[in-house]
Structures are given as structure tokens and as C-alpha cells.
């Protein structure tokens, strides 16, 4: 089934090749101009004692990937569901609905991995961070965890919300949360202590924090990795149930 879903994603990208590729190249440049350049001037002392480009590199990458992921999930789940397209036919096929959803999550992750590699290359050129190959290899699994978590949040919203206006509002809130409250470009220390402590312990904040610990302090927190994996798997299971319920009627 995964090959069928991947083929579908390839067809969709192929049908809109130039806009997808264009977006994938323009977004990192745009975010570099509007986020990285002003933040670099605002931050007086280097965070984690590493150059600003190195510190912000994983955060910016995540923001671009999330931005690329939003239209995919919107299109494949929310829009199709709201307009009664594709999913009714799909619900009549002999495949299991939760299995379809699990494979759908996997497809989004695989697609995002391809985008991640492209964005990482673009930012490696734009920001020129002083990362070794090992640093990239350490960063990659954390990015995957973040992508899987983000994909599940987006899928849940796409399955729960029925109104386009509310959905758009929630997407915007989710995006702002990823940019400003997940330590992608603003460290927890900049928030008032209580708020900083709350968002630090959210799954998104935990993954970002432990990635920077691994990258800049050489400390790998296996407990957080394990907890994130369990959270993601549970979330996928719940999304499977939600998807089945939605397709039943």
C-alpha cells in the first residue's frame, strides 16, 4: 500500500512540479531573510556558545518542512474530506482504514525526508554552518521525530475540524507555535520563566532541546527520544481511530 500512496504523492508533485520545487527553494531563502537576518542582529550573545547560524540551522529547517507539510495534509485529508472527494471511494475498497492512515503518515514522513534533505542543502549553502557529517547524522533522526510529531498534529486537526475558517485559524496558530514556541528560533530562556517551563516540556520543545543538547553539548537524552517515539506511535494509533470514525459516515 505504501508504494501506491507514494506513487500518488509523486503524481501530485509531478502535476505541480515547478510550483513545488519553486516553493522548496524560495521558502528557505525567504525565511532566512525575514527570520534569520533580523534575529542575528537581535541576539547579543551567542546561544549555547555556538555561532548563530549553527544554532538556528535546525530550527529554520523545521519551519520550512512544516510549511511544506501543511498543504500536503490539508489537501489529502481536510480538503478531500470536507468536499467528499476520494475518501468515500477509498472507504469502499477492501483496505483497512487504520492501515491506510498509518501508511499515509509514513508517506508524509518519507516526502518530508526528501524535502528535509533539499532544505538542509540549501541552508548549508545559505548559512554555511560549521557542521561535520556526524552533526548532520545526529540532527537527522531528531528532525524525523519532529516531522512525525508535526504530521500527527496536522492530521488530528484535519480529522477533527469541520469548518474551513476554523481550520485555517488553527493552522496559523500551529505555524506560529512552531515558529515562536518550539525553540526553533526563540530559546526558552527568552520567555517569562513560567511560560518557558511549560513550553520546554511540550513534545516539540523537548525534541528541539534534546537535539541542541546532542549537537552542541554531545549529550544524547535517550529518555526523551524514547518518550517522543512512544508519543508519536500513540498519536498515530489515535489518528487511525479518528480516520476510521470519520470515514464511516
Amino acid at each position: 500500500m505504501i508504494s501506491t500512496l507514494l506513487t500518488r504523492r509523486i503524481w501530485i508533485i509531478k502535476n505541480r512540479l515547478f510550483s513545488t520545487l519553486g516553493l522548496l527553494l524560495i521558502l528557505p531563502i525567504f525565511l532566512n531573510v525575514v527570520i534569520n537576518l533580523p534575529f542575528k542582529r537581535m541576539v547579543v550573545s551567542p546561544l549555547w556558545d555556538v555561532p548563530h547560524e549553527q544554532w538556528i540551522y535546525p530550527g529554520l529547517t523545521i519551519i520550512v518542512i512544516v510549511m511544506m507539510m501543511i498543504p500536503s495534509v490539508y489537501r489529502d485529508l481536510f480538503e478531500l474530506r470536507i468536499h467528499g472527494k476520494l475518501l468515500p471511494s477509498l472507504s469502499l475498497t477492501p483496505i483497512s482504514k487504520p492501515l491506510y492512515l498509518y501508511n499515509f503518515v509514513l508517506t508524509i514522513i518519507i516526502e518530508s525526508i526528501v524535502y528535509t534533505i533539499i532544505v538542509m542543502v540549501v541552508y548549508s549553502i545559505l548559512l554555511a554552518p560549521d557542521f561535520s557529517i556526524v552533526d548532520y547524522l545526529i540532527m537527522f533522526p531528531y528532525l524525523l521525530l519532529f516531522i512525525a510529531l508535526g504530521a500527527n498534529i496536522l492530521i488530528s486537526l484535519s480529522l477533527i475540524v469541520n469548518k474551513t475558517t476554523l481550520y485555517n485559524l488553527l493552522m496559523l496558530t500551529f505555524f506560529l507555535f512552531i515558529v515562536f514556541a518550539s525553540a526553533t528560533v526563540i530559546e526558552f530562556e527568552y520567555f517569562p520563566k513560567v511560560i518557558g517551563n511549560i513550553i520546554r516540556y511540550l513534545p516539540t520543545g523537548q525534541i528541539m532541546h534534546s537535539m541542541r543538547m546532542a549537537l552542541f553539548s554531545d549529550v544524547i537524552n535517550w529518555l526523551i527520544i524514547l518518550a517522543s517515539i512512544v508519543t508519536i506511535l500513540l498519536w498515530i494509533y489515535i489518528n487511525g481511530l479518528l480516520f476510521t470514525k470519520r470515514l464511516q459516515k
Binding site: N15, K85, L86, S89, L90, T93, I95
Partner: protein, 309 residues
């Protein structure tokens, strides 16, 4: 004859309103069944959706080719093809991509699938549409594409919600040519707003009224049972009451009515008119009119009082 679909006390609620009420009947394998009903067609669509497997019945059981529709759902999926009223194709894919995507989940014999697919593309005149994104196609073309998608899988039961809706005259003819070629090869259940279409394409007509099946037979039998096939109107210069009483007693005459100097009666065939004519020697006739009854006349006569259909 073996049953293709069996309803056992099936009832369905929609927004708290009973749209199907205690349906118990069977549909023979490889027969063509047309359904018509109230203007508020929610009951009909719901009926088709239940057979297609989109919805489960709230009460009762449904069997398709002997399989319980809920307990043996996986056995049924491959047997059914469903063409919904509105197209449900993915707007981001081309027609061909859409069809290949859905059909790939059925694990069917690829060779047979491709062969059917190719044949139906030709019969439905869709070759120029296959590589076009579906959001650029007309609703009529999309309806044909949905039919192509379902037929290419060689279903044993084909459920069609207004199969020619949104189509132009040429496409309607093409589509019915294809569907008529499948007559007696699969069980076909369809709804249509075109009574002429139903009249020409059915083994059986189910007329729904208030969530129940009010009439269930083929048109010939229904006409025979309800009003005869023909209506004869004879306009006399002057008709005597004694003559009218004689005509009333003619064999097989149905509902004779005398109004002024005009006599109207129904009959199953024209021989009734000939029998009446033998009584009219020496009587001056101004005009004779023969009308063949159609489905519309039957429905109008039956539901005129209730404003149905």
C-alpha cells in the same frame, strides 16, 4: 432465481427522520432494477448507499451474494461498484491517476483490469480525457469517468445514483449503450430522474413512498394491474345511456367513463377498442383517440392526490 441482494427488515434514519422503513425483499442476480421515489430523494440515495456499503443499516440486515453486509464486509467489497451522484474523484490527479489509484487497492487481476479499462475508455469515448486533471473536466465527463472506474473492476453488483446526471444527450446515449450491453451480466440498481430512461431500462421498478416500497414490478405488470396499457377516447355526436351500459360490460374494459358525449376507457390491448366498435354500428363518431400509457401516467394516476413524484 438466485438472490443477489436480500433486505431483511432494513430501516434507516437520517437526521432523526425515518427514510427507509422495514424493507424486506430480494433482488435477483443479473437483473436491472430501477428505483424512483419522493422528490425528497434522501431515501433513495440512502438505499443505494446502504447497498454500496457507504452506510450500514440502522436496523435489519442486508445480504449481498449471500454475505452479511456488516459481518462479511471484506467479502463484499470486491463485488460492488458504486457510482455516486456527485463525482468523488481527487481534484489534484488526472482521470487516469484517479482510477489507477483506487483500483490498485482491490488486488485484482491486472491483465483483466487493463483490458476492461481500455475497452470502456473506448466505449465511453473518454480517451481524450484520461490525462486531464479532473478539476478541469465537466461534471458529465466526471460521471462517465466514475462509471469507467467502477466497470473496469468487473463488479457483480453495480449501484448507480443517477448514472447519466450532468451528461449531454450524446453522453447519455453512450452511457446507456454501455449499461444495456451489461444487462443480464451483472445486477444493476440505479436511480434516475428520467422516467423515459427507467421505462426503457429495467426488469423491475421499485417505487418508494414514505420510506417503503409502494410498487414493485416491471412496468408492463404494473400497468396491467393498475390501469391497462392504453386509454381510448371516443367522441360521439350523441351517446345514449343504454349504449354506455352495453359498453360498460365489454370484456376486459377498464374504467369506462362517460362525460357529455365523450367516452373514455382503458384496456390492456387494442382488442378492447375493437370489441367496443362492434357495438357502435350506426352511431356517429366524431373522433377516436388512442393513448399508450407510460410510467409517468401510472405515477401521476397513483400519486396525483398526494403530490408524490
Amino acid at each position: 432465481m438466485e438472490a443477489s441482494i436480500t433486505f431483511k427488515k432494513v430501516s434507516q434514519l437520517l437526521d432523526g427522520k425515518t427514510v427507509l422503513s422495514g424493507l424486506s425483499f430480494g433482488i435477483e442476480r443479473n437483473s436491472t432494477v430501477a428505483i424512483i421515489g419522493d422528490n425528497d430523494d434522501s431515501g433513495l440515495t440512502e438505499f443505494l448507499r446502504i447497498i454500496a456499503g457507504m452506510n450500514d443499516p440502522n436496523y435489519g440486515s442486508l445480504y449481498i451474494h449471500g454475505f452479511d453486509s456488516i459481518k462479511r464486509r471484506s467479502n463484499i467489497r470486491k463485488l460492488i461498484g458504486y457510482v455516486p451522484f456527485k463525482n468523488d474523484m481527487d481534484p489534484w490527479l488526472t482521470a487516469e491517476q484517479n482510477i489507477n489509484f483506487i483500483n490498485s487497492f482491490y488486488n485484482l487481476d491486472n491483465k483483466k483490469l487493463k483490458e476492461n479499462y481500455k475497452n470502456y475508455i473506448e466505449s465511453l469515448d473518454l480517451s481524450s480525457k484520461m490525462n486531464v486533471e479532473v478539476n478541469k473536466l465537466s461534471p458529465g465527463a466526471l460521471k462517465k469517468l466514475t462509471l469507467l472506474r467502477e466497470l473496469s473492476r468487473d463488479p457483480k453488483v453495480l449501484v448507480l445514483d443517477n448514472p447519466t446526471a450532468f451528461m449531454n444527450a450524446k453522453d447519455i446515449a453512450l452511457t446507456w449503450d454501455v449499461l444495456q450491453a451489461l444487462k443480464n451480466k451483472l445486477t444493476m440498481i440505479y436511480s434516475s430522474t428520467s422516467l423515459d430512461t427507467i421505462e426503457n431500462n429495467h426488469d423491475r421498478i421499485l417505487v418508494f413512498h414514505d420510506g417503503k416500497i409502494d410498487l414493485d414490478d416491471n412496468l408492463d405488470s404494473m400497468l396491467k394491474n393498475w390501469m391497462g396499457h392504453y386509454q381510448f377516447t371516443i367522441q360521439f355526436e350523441k351517446i345514449l345511456t343504454s349504449l354506455y351500459h352495453k359498453i360498460e360490460k365489454v370484456q376486459n374494459i377498464i374504467s369506462p367513463i362517460q362525460k357529455d358525449n365523450t367516452l373514455t376507457f382503458n384496456g390492456d390491448d387494442r382488442s378492447v377498442l375493437l370489441r367496443v366498435m362492434t357495438l357502435l354500428v350506426g352511431v356517429t363518431i366524431l373522433d377516436i383517440n388512442i393513448k399508450r400509457f407510460h410510467l409517468r401516467d401510472l405515477l401521476e394516476a397513483r400519486y396525483m392526490q398526494e403530490g408524490v413524484v
